[in-house]
């Protein structure tokens, strides 16, 4: 599992340091050198406008991973608040909050995101909005579930009887108990969001060209599938490996937490 962590770390480092490591300007057009094969100068070749694919991938990591991180954290915040309201607010609040959550769940995430991003006009802002609005329900369900279970747990009842304030109880008992599950859900959503961002990019509703983003790069490469198939390998591979690394990290985390709890 250490190798998985290392892989995930490498990807995060690449996302942070990408622009420094990139050998070329990702937007530098070089028509004479278009659709170039991998070579010593252009390690992964060049695209239809002669731009260096490696540089674009490295810059793209920042968009794909960075945006996914931001969006999954926004979802985490919304979901936690909603879940806490459901768990603590009494029966009526619980019912209405959970039906709202069900309503949002009824729209397949990507379909809703496509509609939102498409109707509000494609762009980075609407991308963030679309994926945040559709990405908080899982957190809410987890937080609500744990919150309801904790309510009747012996030690929470004891703390209440001792006369501790709700804030202290939340800090002392609720948050530590929810953290592990939330982190596991968060890694899952992080990976899921990377897929979502590139899917929107691929459909043309995400980050707009000329910004390098893995989904849009794939969209560009698709036209040249017959002439230079290698072009479409790279961005897809980048998405797949980063999603895999994050998912495996989540699995490892879940297993180690499960082992600690038993």
């Amino acid at each position: 599992m250490r190798s998985v962590l290392a892989l995930a770390l490498i990807f995060i480092l690449l996302a942070v340091l990408g622009p420094v490591l990139a050998p070329y300007d990702p937007a530098a057009i070089n028509i004479p050198n278009r659709l170039g094969p991998p070579s010593a100068d252009w390690l992964l070749g060049t695209d239809a406008l002669g731009r260096d694919i490696l540089s674009r991938l490295l810059h793209g990591a920042r968009w794909s991973l960075g945006l996914a991180f931001l969006i999954s954290v926004i979802g985490l915040c919304i979901g936690t608040v909603v879940g806490l309201v459901a768990a603590q607010g009494g029966k009526l609040a619980d019912w209405s909050v959970m039906r709202t959550t069900d309503t949002f769940l009824a729209f397949p995430e990507l379909v809703a995101a496509v509609v939102i991003a498409g109707l509000l006009g494609a762009g980075t802002g609407t991308l963030i909005l679309a994926l945040s609005v559709t990405g908080w329900m899982r957190y809410a369900r987890v937080v609500r579930g744990i919150g309801l279970a904790l309510k009747s747990r012996g030690y929470v009842v004891q703390a209440k009887l001792a006369g501790m304030s709700p804030l202290v109880i939340a800090h002392r008992h609720y948050i530590p108990a929810m953290m592990p599950s939330l982190i596991v859900v968060w890694t899952g959503m992080f990976a899921h969001t990377i897929l979502g961002i590139s899917a929107l990019g691929f459909l043309g509703f995400g980050v707009q060209p000329p910004t390098a983003e893995w989904g849009t790069m794939l969209l560009d490469a698709r036209i040249h599938i017959r002439s230079t198939p290698l072009q479409m390998i790279w961005p897809g591979l980048a998405v797949a490996i980063s999603v895999l690394a994050i998912n495996l990290c989540g699995d490892a985390l879940r297993d180690s937490l499960a082992a600690r709890n038993s």
Binding site: R99, P108, V111, L203, I225
Partner: protein, 312 residues
């Protein structure tokens, strides 16, 4: 049992109404003037403001949110999805035609997914932590990480471009369904394998099973009569939620393979700002999702009537 199922129905109705309102809110707040879009579609030209106002009044758009909502939802309740604001054609027949392409694809993908995932998961669950199990989990993990659109392109590259075994784009012949179904089916299989495997493992860890072994019940009977039903409940429940995954995959795959199904229908409708069509697709997916999950909830409660009862 009956009040429980009535409760579920009520819940489904609440969720569907919520979905309708949410759809309308989104469209209401979308930039651009819907009256303009409708008028352009109807008269096929830029129209003067008084005509625009007339259209707005007809569609109930000038009366504020709730009257407009009522004007919108009224026909919907009797199954009238209206007319496309771009082509002027009725939405419903077009939608049904698109569904005619999407439904077989979804079914084929589900069959492929199940026929891979089920044996793989059973094999994996035979000896948890064993070589087979690790392989199955690894395959499923990799499968779940591959974006469906990329997988689709890879399959096109391999089977349509390099080997030229099957056609890729469009939906003219029956063979056209092979690649999209495979793309989607592999993704479904990856997701299902993990769900089924953990469902079986969980069901097998139940505290009462050792007593059955000691009573002399054969391993086969235990697996069939006591493990399978207990595994079915969580598996089917998660399946219902994963339906969203299938619908998303359909959208992507249909776009990649240029199939004239719901996915292409939706993307095209969004690009042309054809609101009635967008509404129709969004509502339809929400309806499918809600009712499939309703059916699953009812199935689980028939299997175990304790679910959903207070104090269970």
């Amino acid at each position: 049992m009956t009040p429980g199922i009535l409760g579920l129905l009520l819940r489904a109705i609440v969720v569907v109404s919520g979905a309708a309102i949410a759809t309308f809110v989104l469209l209401w707040n979308a930039p651009g003037d819907p009256a303009f879009a409708i008028a352009v579609a109807r008269y096929n030209t830029i129209v003067p403001t008084d005509v625009l106002d007339q259209v707005r009044a007809e569609a109930g758009l000038d009366a504020g949110f709730w009257p407009a909502f009522r004007a919108w939802i009224g026909p919907l309740l009797v199954g009238d999805f209206g007319r496309s604001s771009v082509t002027g054609r009725a939405v419903w027949p077009d939608l049904v035609r698109a569904l005619g392409y999407t439904a077989p694809l979804a079914l084929a993908a589900l069959m492929i997914g199940l026929s891979i995932a089920f044996p793989l998961a059973c094999l994996a669950a035979k000896k948890p932590g064993g070589v087979l199990d690790r392989c199955a989990v690894a395959i499923a993990s990799v499968g779940a990480a591959i974006p469906p659109y990329w997988l689709g392109l890879l399959l096109i590259l391999l089977f349509a471009v390099q080997l030229a075994w099957v056609p890729a784009m469009g939906a003219r012949t029956a063979a056209h369904i092979i690649l999209p179904a495979l793309t989607l089916g592999l993704g479904v299989a990856a997701a299902l394998t993990r769900i089924i495997r953990s469902g079986i493992l969980e069901a097998r860890g139940q505290g009462f099973l050792p007593a059955f072994t000691r009573r002399g019940v054969s391993r086969r009977s235990i697996a069939r009569d006591h493990v399978a039903p207990h595994a079915a409940i969580p598996v089917v429940t998660v399946l219902g939620l994963e339906l969203a995954f299938l619908l998303e995959g359909l959208l992507m795959v249909e776009v990649i393979f240029g199939r004239p199904g719901l996915g292409g229908f939706l993307v095209h409708a969004i690009e042309t700002r054809d609101f009635p069509r967008v509404q129709a697709v969004v509502l339809l997916t929400a309806l499918i999702f809600v009712f499939v999950n309703l059916a699953i909830d009812i199935f689980c409660r028939v299997l175990d009537p304790r679910i959903g009862e207070p104090g269970a």
